[in-house]
């Protein structure tokens, strides 16, 4: 039976298109998933988080492809008020992509639009940079002159092939 953490990683993976194996590798010295789950749990109501995780688990059990899971979770049929589950899901996406938590709605003591970098590791391992085929500003693991050469491909860095793949082959 899947744990909340498994479902949180699976949900995150579907939402941002990066595989669960990359978000939560088997050997993971950084260990962001439990940190993120704890962080999110403290900031959105249990019913909202449970609804998201349950919805994900149900769709995954039905073998719905991840991209479609994401679309269903984020769907709100242009209602005038975006459901809290969708707002929370969007914040979870930004959390993984940017390392920043944007409070989606008021939940005291947290106010809507409050933002914070969860930790230095959350910034360093945020995915927007890899999607840019780059590195976090202020954290390069490359060597002098690398900027004069084509980077590894998007697929190498994220597992997702680009439109018209560009970048060095691995």
């Amino acid at each position: 039976m899947s744990t909340n953490l498994d479902n949180f990683v699976g949900l995150s993976s579907a939402l941002i298109g990066i595989s669960a194996e990359l978000l939560a590798p088997q050997i993971d010295p950084v260990g962001l998933p439990p940190i993120f789950l704890d962080y999110v749990t403290a900031r959105i109501p249990p019913d909202v988080l449970n609804a998201l995780l349950t919805q994900y688990a149900t769709l995954a059990a039905d073998h719905v492809p991840p991209d479609q899971i994401a679309e269903q979770i984020l769907k709100f049929n242009m209602q005038p008020t975006i459901p809290d589950t969708v707002l929370a899901a969007r914040s979870i996406m930004k959390l993984w992509l940017l390392g920043v938590w944007y409070q989606p709605f008021d939940r005291l003591p947290f106010k809507k639009d409050d933002s914070a970098v969860v930790s230095d590791q959350a910034y360093i391992h945020s995915w927007a940079w890899k999607i840019a085929q780059a590195h976090p500003m202020g954290y390069s693991e490359s060597f002098f002159g690398y900027w004069n050469s084509t980077p590894p491909s998007l697929e190498d860095l994220t597992g997702v092939p680009a439109n018209g793949q560009q970048g060095a082959l691995s």
């Binding site: 579907a14 939402l15 941002i16 298109g17 990066i18 991840p66 991209d67 994401a70 679309e71 984020l74 969007r90 996406m93 930004k94 992509l97 940017l98 920043v100 944007y102 933002s115 914070a116 970098v117 930790s119 230095d120 910034y123 360093i124 927007a128 940079w129 999607i131 840019a132 085929q133 780059a134 590195h135 500003m137 202020g138 954290y139 390069s140 693991e141 490359s142 060597f143 002098f144 002159g145 690398y146 900027w147 004069n148 050469s149 084509t150 980077p151 998007l154 994220t158 997702v160 680009a162 439109n163 018209g164 560009q166 970048g167």
Partner: protein, 733 residues
């Protein structure tokens, strides 16, 4: 009140202060540095952590003190050493002194910032080390605008070389010899050039062979104060794309490098969290002391007061804090403030206001930004030309950081495609994306982003009656120590604005016509103006200049060409506040070069050795120890001597007879010339009336007349008469 004594007191532990402290320390002079901010940290881990966890990664984000973004801070009035920050400019707060440290009166906002910590603003400079071009020094005489400098490019040549060595500049001479810039024969920069980025490469391909204003568009590698090879014990650049706000590995030079060397001389000490509050002047018109206040916590109580007393004083506190201190020091006798008989202290506040333009490369043409140093190349070929009689010049910096500056990316674009917004203007149909489609779209946008910044020369309409200036707050607004804060008045002349107009035209031409891209340049405040009916916005470059300019005329300038106050002979004002005009080069290299010259002048004031060299004695010791780190000169001052009746009375250059006897001091040199050697067994060399002394030999400088030392061919030294007065100075030719 405590009293601190030294031979030289320096206010400010930034680039200028550190270089001068180091030079003086090496000359054996006791130096005390007063630094308003906290000490240089043992390592940069704490600053890095502040940066990583800052939501808004502004240039000041790694550094203390807190900014208005910190919820606990109630405003600059509570801080003991506040500074101008980007945070102060957000949300239209630039002219709200409850938020902004600078008390801004407009009409335009002044949008450049600086740091008040040990090491100064070099903590967050990009590292650009361009020299000024020769015509930058003669703007008035060449183009009829602005102000000439009292010195020219050639006067700075050797100081530029010393600055490049101290900073550790990576560049190739062949790339930098443009618009009249020359280099000493055989000169090589300390390190080879930094490789161009893929972004740069796209510009090279697009603009090569093209012209603007009948001048060629040429992309040049930017000389950079970052290591392309291991240098001075520091690492090679790893392309962290983070020179501003902070280089994580110190591959980029900052002034802590030089300050740590200064401290290692054992002659320099620094008092941190020590804010200079008043310069006092004695009856003899010399500065008699600098009063200071001390604190421990950024918004805590004052913990001490004192006065620093010395023979010489140097204020190296940048173009805002230096005039603030001088003007806050006014008395009944010095009613306009210290060093201000010209009335020019605080006037002519300048920056390189930046015209920022950005766009996307064509579909499918990725150029992979967010990689490498923040900038590795620029278009420098338009920094000078006949157009300068009509409008401001600029240089074009090519950025490697995508839209991080203009749009706050990657944050903005990520949010746009998740929230269905179009803040960054790449999501006009307000798409909501997720999953792999989101990844692909973000990749497509991020890898095609670029930006260029035009650093525009700022020239006043009437340089003697500037529209841009700093003065003590007329509302008597103070900081946490009760020191009156700087009030800023800022405007851009039509000459400068016309530079923006031309920048905009060229930016659009490059982006749309030459690169084939899509321009997305927009107005981003708070710096906005209209010229000829067209709105423009400008960004601060962090290049604070003017406010205590150098000149030949004491009625129109604050310091002379040696950066010595016209009014107080023991006071020096250094840093880019002395720039009479801004040119278009990022100012740090010129600050460093001028600081070396000021350091020489100070060291010569206090430690130059003047002595008589007798004609009838062989080698005579000077007591001056030469080494590779302190460049020295020997200069003929006065007197004549005679080595032979035939040769007659001569000065240090000697006479017309050139004798090759081996018993002569320096066979083949002019008889009667002044000759030197290093140590008892050193190889003699010609000094004449002026010479740079060897830097590759260690030992005491000895001097002697060029004559038959042992009397093998006549009377030798016994018939010699006269003596020369010689000065052994600090400096480089």
């Amino acid at each position: 009140m405590s009293t601190e004594q030294a031979e030289v007191v320096i206010v400010g532990a930034g680039l200028a202060g550190s270089i001068i402290a180091y030079q003086l320390g090496m000359a054996g002079i006791d130096v005390l540095v007063l630094e308003s901010g906290p000490e240089i940290p043992v390592n940069r881990a704490q600053y890095l952590e502040r940066f990583y966890t800052a939501t808004l990664k502004t240039p000041e984000s790694p550094y203390p003190p807190s900014t208005t973004l910190d919820p606990h801070l109630t405003g600059p009035a509570k801080l003991n050493a506040p500074r101008a920050t980007i945070a102060d400019l957000l949300n239209d707060n630039w002219n709200k002194p409850a938020v902004s440290y600078l008390v801004q009166k407009g009409p335009l906002p002044f949008t450049s910032t600086y740091e008040r910590v040990g090491g100064g603003t070099t903590w967050h400079w990009v590292g650009t080390c361009l020299r000024m071009v020769p015509n930058d020094f003669r703007l008035r005489s060449k183009y009829g605008v602005g102000v000439d400098w009292p010195i020219g490019y050639d006067d700075l040549q050797s100081a530029y070389c010393r600055a490049e060595a101290e900073i550790g500049v990576s560049a190739n001479v062949a790339d930098q010899a443009y618009l009249g810039m020359t280099f000493p024969e055989g000169y090589a920069f300390p390190m080879h050039s930094i490789p161009l980025s893929l972004v740069d490469g796209s510009f090279v391909a697009a603009v090569t062979g093209q012209t603007f204003d009948n001048l060629p568009l040429v992309v040049s590698p930017t000389p950079a104060g970052r290591n392309s090879q291991p240098y001075a014990g520091r690492r090679v650049c790893a392309g962290n794309t983070n020179c501003t706000p902070i280089c994580p590995i110190q591959a980029k030079y900052d002034a802590t490098v030089t300050m740590n060397k200064a401290l290692a001389t054992g002659k320099v000490r620094v008092l941190y969290r020590t804010v200079a509050s008043k310069v006092t002047v004695g009856d003899d018109h010399n500065v008699s002391g600098i009063e200071f206040m001390q604190y421990q916590l950024e918004d805590g109580p004052k913990t001490g007061t004192g006065v620093a007393v010395a023979k010489r004083y140097v204020i190296a506190a940048h173009a805002i804090e230096t005039p603030k201190l001088l003007l806050n020091s006014k008395t009944d006798v010095w009613s306009k403030g210290v060093a201000n008989s010209s009335g020019q202290v605080g006037r002519s506040l300048a920056d390189h206001p930046i015209y920022l333009a950005w766009g996307l490369m064509p579909e499918g043409k990725a150029i992979f930004p967010y990689r490498g140093p923040l900038s590795t190349a620029g278009i420098e070929s338009l920094r000078d030309g006949a157009f300068r009689s009509d409008r401001a010049a600029w240089r074009i910096e090519i950025g490697n950081e995508g839209w991080n500056w203009p749009a706050g990316d990657p944050y903005t674009t990520v949010a746009d495609f998740i929230d269905g917004t179009n803040v960054g203007k790449t999501n006009p149909s307000n798409k909501l994306l997720s999953g792999t489609a989101l990844v692909r779209k973000l990749n497509d946008v991020f890898t095609r982003q670029f930006r260029v910044g035009f650093l525009v020369e700022q020239v006043e309409k009437d340089p003697d009656h500037s529209d841009s200036y700093i003065q003590p707050s007329t509302d008597n607004l103070t900081d946490g120590l009760g020191i009156v804060r700087p009030e800023i008045h800022y405007d851009l002349s039509d000459y400068t604005r016309k530079g923006f107009q031309q920048a905009k035209i060229l930016a659009t031409h490059i982006i749309e016509d030459l690169l084939g891209g899509t321009e997305l340049t927009d107005i981003i405040g708070p710096g906005c103006f209209t010229y000829d009916g067209v709105p423009y916005s400008f960004q601060g470059a962090g290049h604070l200049m003017g406010t205590y300019r150098m000149g030949d005329d004491h009625t129109k300038s604050v310091v002379d060409k040696d950066q010595r106050s016209w009014d107080h002979k023991n006071l020096f004002l250094v840093g880019d506040g002395v720039f009479p005009s801004t040119g278009t080069s990022n100012p740090s290299l010129t600050i460093a070069a001028l600081s070396f010259q000021a350091g020489d002048t100070l060291a010569n004031d206090l430690r130059a050795v003047t002595m008589q060299v007798q004609s009838n004695k062989a080698w005579q010791g000077t007591g001056v120890q030469l080494n590779a780190l302190v460049p020295r000169l020997a200069r003929y001052v006065s007197g004549q001597w005679r080595a032979s009746l035939e040769g007659g009375w001569v000065d240090g250059n000697g006479g017309s007879r050139h004798i090759t006897y081996s018993s002569y001091t320096l066979p083949g040199a002019a008889e009667g010339a002044l000759i030197g050697r290093v140590g008892d067994s050193g190889t003699p060399f010609l000094i004449g009336d002026l010479a740079q002394l060897p830097v590759d030999q260690h030992g005491e400088l000895q001097l002697c007349i060029n004559d038959d030392l042992t009397g093998q061919h006549g009377a030798g030294l016994t018939d010699n008469v006269g003596a020369l007065t010689i000065r052994v100075e600090f400096g480089a030719l």
